[in-house]
């Protein structure tokens, strides 16, 4: 054996027959079987293929895709490696390959985050008002069904109370200039909340009504929910949730959006969207109440009474609503131009407070559920 030759095993890629060959290390890598050359690989085209450290395996970038050369002789392998200038250029594990992956990943992440922060809310703002009312009504029916499954199906409808409630809603509706018909009702549930569903459904829960001390407090809350309806926040939220889920799926690979990281990131993003929507709904409530010549602050007083001061209690950026005390400060700041008549007189207010008091069959037990209905909630 001369200095520039040695034994190896060759597979031609056309069959798996093992061929014992002689390698000649000339201007090119020459592969000979029984003394006759069967292939010649230019050194620049030779690439390394994965194999354990006990051998060197090569392919050629301009020969048969699967043709392979196995070299067990370590000294020979060394002499070949020295001659191959571009042995590992196509390996993604090399330095330049990894750098490219990192750079492109960062670029993709930045673009996804920017779209999530600015693009999705913008898109939702533009698209939500364009969606036909009928779609929203359909969604409303669906969410209504879920809400009633969770909170119980009984609505309160004592005759006098219902009359007072309708009067209050009608006043707010005309003052707010609503673009769609409202369906408001008091739901017989102890939960201290009020919600607006897609399609103009607004529910006030008995629990919140019991907490209220005067009609302005409840009117303010309803005004806030009307604001959600007026701004079509449910639709916007639906579009935002869909958009962010999709984006985060792109980023983390789990399109179903079940992973812990995805849930966490989505919570952050949605909390920021939602705080903005709440501030706008508060603005709507303030305007509407002031048009009626009534103060908006009582609503915030009701909230502060229920939640206490909130600053410093939780993690700011996870909160879905502005702090109650901030809302109160905002509502107190704005003066009423001309004070007006009370929305309800004392008798009507008493009737509204008693709207759930009529003897009726007991409401179905409140069910617990992990599903969070797509609703806007107050407080």
């Amino acid at each position: 054996m001369t200095e520039d030759a040695g034994q190896a095993t060759f597979f031609d890629g056309k069959s798996n027959r093992r061929r014992t060959v002689t390698l000649r290390l000339g201007p090119e890598l020459e592969i000979c079987e029984n003394g006759a050359p069967i292939a010649s690989w230019p050194w620049d085209w030779v690439r390394r293929v994965d194999s354990p450290k006990s051998q060197l395996r090569l392919r050629c970038a301009n020969a048969h895709d699967l043709a392979r050369l196995d070299i067990q002789d370590e000294a020979l392998a060394q002499r070949i490696v020295v001659r191959c200038t571009r042995l590992d250029v196509e390996d993604s594990r090399g330095k330049s390959g990894t750098g490219r992956i990192i750079a492109w990943s960062l670029a993709a992440t930045v673009s996804i985050v920017l779209i999530g922060l600015y693009g999705v809310p913008l898109l939702a703002d533009r698209v939500a008002p364009l969606l036909p009312q009928s779609i929203e009504a359909r969604l409303g029916d669906m969410v209504d069904n879920q809400v009633k499954t969770i909170f119980g199906r009984r609505t309160c409808d004592a005759v006098d109370g219902q009359k007072a409630f309708s009067k209050m809603v009608a006043k707010l509706e005309s003052a707010g200039g609503m673009h769609m018909p409202l369906q408001a009702a008091v739901l017989d549930s102890g939960v201290k909340n009020a919600i607006a569903l897609p399609g103009g459904k607004v529910y006030l829960f008995r629990g919140l009504l019991n907490e209220a001390k005067n009609a302005d407090e409840i009117a303010g809350v309803l005004g806030h929910e009307l604001g959600h309806v007026h701004h079509r926040d449910s639709m916007r939220r639906l579009l935002q949730t869909g958009g962010t889920s999709f984006l985060l799926g792109l980023l983390f690979g789990d399109v179903t959006g079940a992973g812990a990281v995805i849930v966490a990131t989505r919570t952050l993003l949605e909390a920021s969207y939602s705080r903005e929507a709440e501030v706008k709904a508060d603005g709507f409530a303030i305007d509407t109440m002031h048009k009626l010549g009534r103060p908006a602050a009582p609503m915030a007083e009701l909230l502060v009474r229920m939640t206490g001061p909130q600053r410093g209690k939780g993690i700011d950026i996870l909160a879905s609503h502005p702090f109650s005390e901030d809302r109160l400060a905002r509502m107190k700041k704005i003066e009423i131009q001309k004070p007006g008549e009370p929305i309800l007189d004392a008798e009507e207010w008493a009737a509204l407070k008693a709207i759930c008091n009529q003897p009726a069959e007991p409401s179905p037990a409140t069910k617990d559920s992990h599903e969070k209905p797509a609703t806007e909630k107050t407080p």
């Binding site: 093992r18 994965d50 354990p52 699967l66 992956i101 669906m142 009633k148 799926g249 966490a264 700011d316």
Partner: protein, 419 residues
């Protein structure tokens, strides 16, 4: 525990006795340190690339495992790139997004009729996941090369999904008893559509053999369940036998606690049975995997995963405390109110720190998991497999083409991608 091997198929009648078949073990060249390095590097890169490196890491892992497995003296190869997986994933998104939209709309319509009526729609997703698993196998197989010739696969992913789904119903109805028949049906479909070059593969292990050897374990689990249920019923007021009820419930609970320890033995049994059925031309496999080996592996994995996760968690807490200290805040002097101020003032730092810590722990746990449940599992399995008559796989002509990475992308979309 019955650990008898599955006997090779009997010699057909009327044929002269032949010389005993040649045997060749699969040789796994273990370079654990190198693999670990690959994993740690991959985890770090996943952190910097916000997870995008997962496609390349999956490829790196396969390349390592394939290339260190010597079959009859030649190592296998995994020939494709991470970029291909990324493209497959993007294609999969193009398919998955409309499917999710339709799913969503149907869901809305169903919910209008009855709250939470859309839950059964999840069944469609189960079917789809099987489809994706089949296509992912096809992708991996067509990237597998041995001695310069490619493995490949045909068959329909949807047909496979329906077979898998139908048998799953039977498995549930039979409380697991139909499992061997399901496994056989699926393996038959997969292997009879599998080729090495122009050589077709086959699967001929009989499910009844699997069933007979697994019967003891199955009955044990079922009887434990029955004890638990019967004990529960007896303890109710109607039967007024709380004493015997409690005894039965305790027995049942002990039995159910033992079931996870039986799982490695079940898996080992399944591996031995599977290997006895695989068949490429005249080349067969034999496996003598013991359940104890798998049990030891799982145990080692759990202990080390727990250790690593807690060490990393402690390190992060220590670093966090040092950072806070360096910022001039004495933790001891913090009263609750001051803590509150800190919380509301610098929350984004806290949230980012918590997210970083969480991700680091997850990635560290991922390294341990991949090392034990992929590298070590692979090593244990391959070291127990013997190839019978490898010479029957000589002179196979190349045939078959590569499949795209769509299935793998779909599987990734469902978060079920294997290695």
């Amino acid at each position: 525990m019955d650990e008898a091997n599955f006997s090779p198929p009997a010699q057909p009648w009327g044929q002269p006795p032949v010389a005993p078949p040649s045997l060749r073990p699969i040789d796994f060249v273990s370079e654990g340190r190198k693999f670990l390095k690959l994993l740690v590097r991959g985890a770090a890169l996943q952190l910097v690339t916000f997870g995008f490196y997962r496609f390349w890491l999956a490829t790196d892992i396969r390349r390592h495992l394939w290339s260190h497995s010597m079959i009859d003296g030649e190592n296998a190869e995994y020939t494709r790139t991470g970029r291909e997986l990324l493209i497959g994933f993007l294609f999969a998104l193009a398919i998955l997004v409309p499917i999710y939209l339709v799913y969503f709309l149907i869901g809305i319509e169903a919910e209008r009729v009855q709250a939470f009526a859309s839950v059964p729609l999840g069944l469609f997703m189960v079917l789809f996941a099987s489809f994706a698993a089949y296509r992912a196998r096809r992708y991996r197989l067509t990237r597998t090369v041995w001695r310069g010739v490619r493995f490949w696969m045909q068959g329909s992913g949807w047909k496979f999904a329906f077979i898998a789904f139908g048998w799953m119903i039977l498995v549930v109805l039979s409380l697991g008893g139909a499992w061997p028949w399901r496994a056989a049906a699926l393996e038959r479909y997969k292997m009879r559509n599998t080729f090495y070059g122009d050589m077709p593969a086959d699967f001929d292990a009989r499910p009844i053999e699997f069933f007979k050897k697994g019967l003891g374990m199955w009955l044990f689990a079922i009887i434990s369940l029955i004890f638990l249920a019967a004990g529960g019923i007896l303890s109710t007021a109607a039967f007024k036998a709380p004493g015997s009820g409690v005894v039965l419930m305790v027995l049942g609970t002990i039995g159910l606690i033992a079931v996870p320890f039986m799982y490695p033995f079940f898996r080992a049994l399944e591996w031995r049975w599977w290997a006895s059925g695989v068949n490429f031309g005249g080349t067969r496999l034999e496996c003598n995997l013991r359940g104890g080996a798998l049990l030891g592996l799982f145990f080692k994995y759990l202990v080390i995963a727990w250790l690593v996760a807690s060490v990393v968690a402690m390190l992060i807490i220590a670093i966090g405390a040092a950072v806070v200290e360096a910022a001039g805040i004495q933790i001891k002097s913090l009263n609750p109110q001051k803590l509150n101020e800190l919380m509301s003032g610098e929350t984004w730092i806290l949230v980012a720190g918590a997210a970083f810590g969480y991700l680091t722990i997850m990635l560290a746990a991922g390294v341990v998991q991949r090392f034990f449940l992929q590298h070590e599992y692979w090593r244990v399995i391959t070291s127990t497999i013997t190839i019978v008559r490898p010479e029957a796989m000589e002179n196979v002509a190349a045939k078959g083409d590569i499949a795209n990475a769509l299935g793998e992308g779909l599987a990734d979309g469902f978060d079920i991608a294997g290695f």
